[in-house]
Amino acid sequence: MSHTVTQLIYLVASVLFILGLKWLSSPATAVKGNRISGVGMLIAIVVTLLDQAIVTYQVIIAGLVVGSALGLWMAKAVKMTSMPQMVALLNGLGGGASLLVGGAEFLRSELVNEQLPLDTSITMQLSLLIGAVTLTGSLVAWAKLQEVMTGKPIIYPGQKALNALMFLAVVGLSVYQVSVPESLLWPFYAVLVISLLLGVTLVIPIGGADMPVVISLLNSYSGIAAAMTGFVIRNEVLIIAGALVGSSGIILSQIMCKAMNRSLANVLFGAFGATGGGSTKTAEGLTVRQTSADDAAVQLAYAKSVIVVPGYGLAVAQAQHIVREMADLIEKKGGEVKYAIHPVAGRMPGHMNVLLAEANVPYDKLFDMDQINAEFERTDVCLVIGANDVVNPASRTDPGSPIYGMPILNADKAHSIIVLKRGMGAGFAGIENELFYNPKTAMLFGDAKGSLQKVVTELKAL
């Protein structure tokens, strides 16, 4: 196939990616959007396979089959609650692929002693560096989320200096590599090793719950790495797709940071959650009121209006289906049930939406923070399920709190509040929550799924 035709077809693929992202902006067209973007990918793959530079197909076909099988299996097997890990892993593999491509290109040019033009070697170097950081960084993020390693920030003295040093070393070596006329092997390997290490050391000081921001950022990097590869092999679809992903990742991580009222720099370098905040209030002298599943059920059965505030605990307990069942029962008894979704509830953006959608909760019952916050004061019962930070009034009142200024759901404004959690454990931010000591609040201790199960049984009996 002529080069021109190939290029044009690549353009078609790029347009499909663009349309795909465009349609992802509404739940009604999102499925179509994702599929059309997939079609774009298929087209890009098929066209590439017809490229004259490809001479042997065995290896390729083996690779395609193995990769597709693994990918499909992972997509089928993953639990909805493990989405963040899944994305981290996929993202790492993407970075790895771009690292391998850059490396292979370098070694090939080395082998045939080809003199690369300056811009090619610069972009190749970048694609190597970014690919490597993305690979190991994402793997660490995966390990933290999967709890293979500790979710707590790992910090040690001189950490930032060391990271800065490694970064400078990589940059220095890359500049050296690019500027000397012959392509040398040792700086190549050095850059490779240090970049891989850098991915690890940059991510370990970040707390487990901040991983979505990190993943999104690394996703952005892997997009940029793909774009760099595009510069190297002069391929426009790589550049366009890479740039789209690059900007998408950055925007998403900014949105997340904004919702947590923190800066990106604070997320990346703040080692948030490593130590308790200075002025964090303690709960000494305060008492909580406990309730039982029976009492909670009675209260819910007679409530006219109920707002459910789901949080990370709901995801952990996998309680989304039973929540739905409970809501149906309450509605059958004449109450109205709404869900208040905080933008950073759970561990990744839209986490709660995905979970509740899985349980077939109609999405016109899901309300954004801004939409529903005024309604709490008119609500009989607010049911807080495994949420903590997103309903912590300290963000309004305590300037010393690490979450001070983060917009929260006004759960404390409801006529009465029932909180479902296992004990008095803190949330992600590691701080006390006044809400639990509010006289209007009753605590229902236990795993969220178990507690809800009991409530449902009671509701049915009533």
């Binding site: 990769g67 292979a104 892997s222 925007i251």
Partner: protein, 96 residues
Amino acid sequence: MEALIGSIVIFTLATFLGVELINRVPTTLHTPLMSGANAISGITIAGALIVAGGEHGWISTVLGFLAVVFAMINVVGGYAVTDRMLQMFKRKPEQK
């Protein structure tokens, strides 16, 4: 250099376009967006295929094979898992 400039222009435009497109996506869809965008970044598959399919000695072939596998997991896994999530967002009446 001419070609490099062209690439830079394309990169710039695509970045602006990306920002506009992503800013429109509601929070609800951010998780699928993340995995969907991630799948798109698997476009490195194009580079991987060329590296794996050329005959430039066994190192390139091995690295190329691995690159194809990695990229393909990213692509297929990404699209499949996004589709799975988005299915859940479909309005109920359409589903049955």
